[in-house]
């Protein structure tokens, strides 16, 4: 287990390093002068030179990279040009919206996908299965931002149950804040639930084909007993892996959905930063998102090792 952990931790560090290099190369080394992009076409040579000096653009790429990463490791993500505050401060504030949004959406998706996926598998090739899979196809095809708009149309414009957008800060109490995250979370959860229910269904069917399930049935165990004792436990392995992979897409979805509901999260921040050409903010948020994705994949690997009843080492290469 320890060597497995060490191996995984090494992979995590390597992936983080690769991600930071990739973001740096795309934003800082490829053609295009960041100072020119930030100030626009009308910039004077003096202001360009001043910004280049401030961003350290006169240094070599290697020094700039290590400066940046050194800062990041100390919690210094640089200064936002438009907001005039440290990026770390901005990000911490916005994470209070994005992280709860992603978690609520994820929980909703799992709560829907697990029972319906298993139900579809148990009723394979019967009307119940077709119904669940049909809805899953629809869920995959509905864009999350359109679903968000439809939810606003129904629950805010027609029924007046919710606000059409915006966020009630956590400081004003949990209730209003959670309420303002509910519709966005539903919008975000739809395609997630659709994908997961398909994964759950096929993972369940795979386990049903295993010899030990046939043996359990043959020795007289009832269908529900087989389902709960053998099938569900073993079905979780592939499902957890996909859940981890899907986390990145949940975050990407949050970037879009936040903009539908005018939620002050990371997604809205990054979009505004792009339109305001605040490259320091964009670079650091993308790194943060990449780091988050890599980290979640690491945690999933660990969870996998904990759930997997097989001995460690051989099963995972």
């Amino acid at each position: 287990m320890l060597s497995y952990l060490a191996h995984r931790a090494f992979n995590l560090a390597a992936a983080l390093l690769a991600a930071s290099l990739l973001v740096f190369v795309i934003l800082s080394v490829l053609p295009g002068d960041p100072a020119e992009i930030m100030l626009g076409v009308g910039a004077t040579p003096e202001s360009l030179a001043a910004l280049r000096a401030e961003l350290g653009l006169n240094e070599s790429a290697v020094i700039r990279y290590f400066d940046w990463i050194g800062g990041v490791l100390h919690g210094d993500f640089g200064q936002s040009m438009t907001y005039g505050v440290p990026v770390a401060e901005l990000v911490l504030e916005r994470l209070q919206v994005t992280v709860p949004l992603a978690i609520i959406a994820f929980l909703m998706a799992v709560a829907v996908a697990l029972p319906f996926g298993v139900f579809a598998a148990v009723n394979r090739n019967r009307p119940g299965d077709y119904l669940v899979m049909g809805f899953s196809q629809l869920g995959l095809a509905v864009p999350n931002f359109w679903f968000g708009i439809l939810l606003i149309l129904i629950f805010a414009v027609q029924l007046h149950w919710f606000q059409a957008g915006g966020f009630a800060p956590w400081a004003d109490g949990w209730g209003p804040a959670l309420k303002s995250l509910l519709l966005p979370a539903v919008a975000l959860a739809l395609s997630e639930a659709a994908i997961l229910s398909r994964v759950v269904r096929s993972a369940t069917l795979d386990v049903y084909r295993e010899d030990y399930v046939r043996t359990a049935r043959a020795k007289g165990l009832s269908k529900p007993a087989v389902l709960f004792r053998h099938v569900l436990r073993n079905m979780l392995l592939p499902v957890v892996t996909i859940m981890g992979l899907q986390f990145a897409f949940l975050i990407a979805g949050a970037v879009v959905v936040e903009n539908v509901f005018y939620l002050p999260g990371l997604g809205r921040l990054i979009l505004q930063a792009i339109f305001q050409r605040d490259l320091v903010v964009v670079q650091n948020i993308i790194l943060l998102l990449a780091g988050l994705v890599v980290l979640v994949n690491f945690i999933v690997d660990l969870a996998y090792a904990l759930i997997d009843p097989r001995p460690h080492g051989e099963a995972h290469r």
Binding site: A15, A18, A19, L22, V23, I26, L27, L30, G32, I37, Q137, L138, L140, A141, V142, P143, N144, F145, W146, I149, L150, I152, L153, V157, A164, I195, R198, S202, L245, Q246, A248, F249, I251, A252, V255, V256, N259, V260, I270, L271, A273, I274, F275, L279, V282, Q283, I286, L289, A290, V293, V294, N297
Partner: protein
């Protein structure tokens, strides 16, 4: 392919409701795009404030938008845009990803490991986030948006091609071809590729849907198609500000995206059932 096998494939296909429905919906969108390329009922670049936000009439079947443009014509142009985006994004992925995947399957060593690790990294990072990154540097625009989706597709097709090719590589006819001294390129093109084609075609259908969804999302955010060019995502963005007074404006373009994506996904699933039932489709984007 022999005549009888072809017939039985067609018969199998007709018994797949998802294949039939998917083919029908995809064909419908494709024909709409083709019709839009020839001409639309009304021009989509003219502004007519006098006719703005009209309800559906005999002249304008779906009404007009906030600039007085015919919604049906805008939808048709949007279909043309979506089809074009899908073709380019999937084309980039196929052109680079398939050779890369074949190469990675036939060779071993550090360079292959590095390439596959890089593709894992790109794959773990959703296309829409890559597009945001590229838009930040090169500015919002349709070329950058579609390039980002194309790069993501390269990683997808490299993985799918490599996986399918590795399955074939161990088979006897490949060993035999190598034994009689056929060069690796000939083996790749004549023996490996035809056997991986099914998986690649199925994935291409799914990636087409992913590209349409990503383009619509980026255009909705203002990072994709720029005005005045019509795009379903852009139309939704315009419609959101009119939601309280003209809700139908926000319903129609989204339904168009849904029909296109649903059609392509069903087509992909149906093709899988017929061509390669054991194949697992990679779903992400």
């Amino acid at each position: 392919m022999s005549g009888t096998r072809q017939k039985s494939l067609i018969r199998k296909a007709l018994h797949r409701p998802n294949l039939v429905l998917g083919g029908f919906l995809t064909g419908f969108i494709f024909l709409t795009a083709l019709a839009a390329a020839i001409g639309t009922p009304y021009p989509t670049d003219g502004v007519s404030i006098a006719e703005r936000l009209q309800p559906p009439t005999a002249a304008h079947w779906l009404g007009t938008d906030s600039l007085g443009r015919d919604l049906l014509s805008m939808l048709m142009k949007g279909a043309q845009n979506a089809m074009l985006m899908g073709c380019v994004a999937v084309g980039i992925g196929l052109a680079v990803g398939v050779p890369a995947g074949l190469y990675a399957a036939m060779r071993k060593g550090l360079s292959v490991d590095a390439v596959m690790r890089l593709s894992d990294l790109i794959f773990a990072f959703p296309a829409i986030l890559t597009a945001v990154l590229i838009a930040a540097l090169y500015g919002p625009g349709v070329t950058n948006a579609i390039l980002a989706v194309g790069i993501f597709n390269i990683a997808v097709f490299a993985r799918v091609t490599r996986g399918a090719a590795l399955n074939v590589m161990g088979r006897q006819f490949v060993t035999a071809a190598a034994a009689i001294g056929r060069p690796p390129i000939a083996i790749a093109i004549h023996h490996v590729l035809p056997n991986a084609a099914g998986a690649i075609i199925i994935q291409a259908t799914i990636q087409f849907a992913v590209a349409i969804l990503a383009e619509a999302g980026l255009s909705y955010l203002g990072l994709g198609v720029q005005p005045p060019d019509p795009s379903w995502g852009k139309m939704l963005n315009d419609a959101q500000t009119l939601m309280f007074t003209h809700p139908m404006q926000a319903v129609v373009p989204g339904a168009a995206i849904m029909v296109a994506v649903l059609g392509l996904n069903l087509l992909g699933d149906g093709l899988r059932d017929v061509l390669d039932p054991r194949l697992r489709i990679v779903r992400s984007g």
